[in-house]
């Protein structure tokens, strides 16, 4: 809508409302808009809206009694998200949480389910989350967890399901496995290949798991 038309409409509307009766208003409209019938028609519909609005917007939405506070969707053990059953949280990031979950169909296995934290599902965060999912789905490398599935909860919170990778810090692994230096270097090279794969797919990682 054009600002100029809008301002004209407001002016005519306000003046029309000062007239004592409906017929006076109609008469005034005709006169004031004789050179611009579409303006007259528009103001006519606005006057009609004014008459029909009733209590529209009269009572502030936040004052209508009270606001209901609905429970945040906190995941609890045993809760189901789609076909996955939540077992326990295994990781947490800035905007997402990762759970150990059980899948029954079509195959029985344990998986990692990453979901946006409650209240974090703003457009920006959802977009980033979706990018992460797509990035992982693009990867095809034994050292990078595969994405099995993606979805959203009943309230629209996105999640995706990954291969469960049980990892410990790489330094602990090397110590526990008593890896020799060449072995450690080989492990390091494997990781570099994985990262290179990712870089070739034009993504970078902020937290590498050993």
């Amino acid at each position: 809508m054009d600002r100029v038309q809008y301002e004209k409409a407001e002016e005519v509307f306000t003046l029309a409302l000062q007239k004592p009766s409906a017929s006076d208003r109609a008469h005034f409209l005709d006169k004031a808009c004789k050179d611009d019938p579409s303006l007259g028609a528009y103001v006519g519909t606005l006057l009609k809206a004014h008459a029909e609005a009733g209590t529209f917007l009269d009572v502030p939405v936040a004052e209508v009694g009270d606001l209901e506070v609905n429970p945040p969707e906190l995941e609890a053990k045993g809760m189901e998200i789609g076909p996955y059953k939540i077992c326990e949280p295994i990781g947490e990031g800035g905007f997402g949480v990762v759970y150990l979950a059980e899948q029954e169909e079509p195959v029985r296995r344990k998986v990692a389910l990453k979901i946006i934290k409650p209240g974090m599902d703003t457009k920006q965060v959802v977009t980033r989350f979706e990018m992460e999912r797509q990035a992982l789905a693009l990867m095809d490398h034994p050292s990078i967890a595969k994405v099995f599935d993606a979805g959203a909860t009943t309230t629209g919170r996105p999640y995706f399901v990954m291969e469960l990778v049980q990892g410990i810090p790489i330094t602990d692994y090397c110590r526990q496995a008593k890896l020799s230096v060449p072995q450690r270097l080989k492990l390091f090279v494997d990781i570099c290949h994985a990262v290179q794969h990712a870089h070739q797919k034009r993504w970078s990682f902020r937290n590498l798991r050993g």
Binding site: H50, A53, G54, V61, G65, L67, E68, T155, G156
Partner: protein, 188 residues
């Protein structure tokens, strides 16, 4: 988190970045408070919007009484934040209705306990956004009154116009929005 008093000072001097940060801070605080209150009460409990905004005010600005201008800016930000929270919830509810398992409808936000005349908040929000592009003052007036619960007099003070002007603005804005919102219904 940035000092809210500083943000208010910058925002009232026209710093848009500060105004955005202020809005984000108030928004986050309102959501956080709503969730905290819920944790202490039974689910489905109602909660006073004005108390929520008041608590957010105390938590963000401390016990010290901010100057009048800062208060005005704060409540304007709170009204805007309340609008976003309520409209997001309405959008989410609409998405759930249009598909997906309705077995468990859990919403992690606050929503009006009763909507008079079943107002379509999403349609109103869209119309209000269109209005703000042509006439930001009237759009702000509606946000302050409808989402912030301010009276016409209080809103007129925040906007810096006379009561009579605010009343005139309100009459027109209401009609314009009602028309815009009803237009959509006919199309369906």
């Amino acid at each position: 988190m940035a000092d809210v008093t500083q943000l208010l000072d910058s925002a009232k001097r026209g710093d848009r970045h500060a105004a955005n940060e202020l809005l984000a801070a108030v928004y986050a605080e309102l959501r956080h408070l709503a969730a905290c209150k819920l944790a202490r009460e039974r689910p489905g409990q109602t909660l006073q919007a004005t108390a929520l905004v008041h608590d957010a005010y105390l938590r963000l600005l401390g016990q010290e009484s901010a100057d009048w201008e800062n208060r005005q800016h704060f409540f304007a930000a709170a009204a805007e934040a309340m609008r976003r929270i309520l409209v997001e919830t309405a959008r989410r509810k609409a998405r759930v209705k249009h598909g997906g398992d309705l077995r468990r409808v859990e919403l992690d936000a606050i929503s009006p306990a009763v909507l008079p005349e079943a107002i379509d908040l999403v349609a109103l929000d869209e119309a209000l956004t269109r209005l703000s592009e042509i006439d930001p003052v009237k759009a702000k007036l509606v946000t302050l009154r409808y989402f912030g619960g301010l009276t016409v007099v209080q809103a007129s003070e925040t906007l810096g116009v006379s009561r009579a002007t605010a009343n005139r603005y309100w009459t027109f804005a209401r009609a314009w929005l009602y028309h815009e919102v009803s237009k959509g219904d006919h199309r369906q």
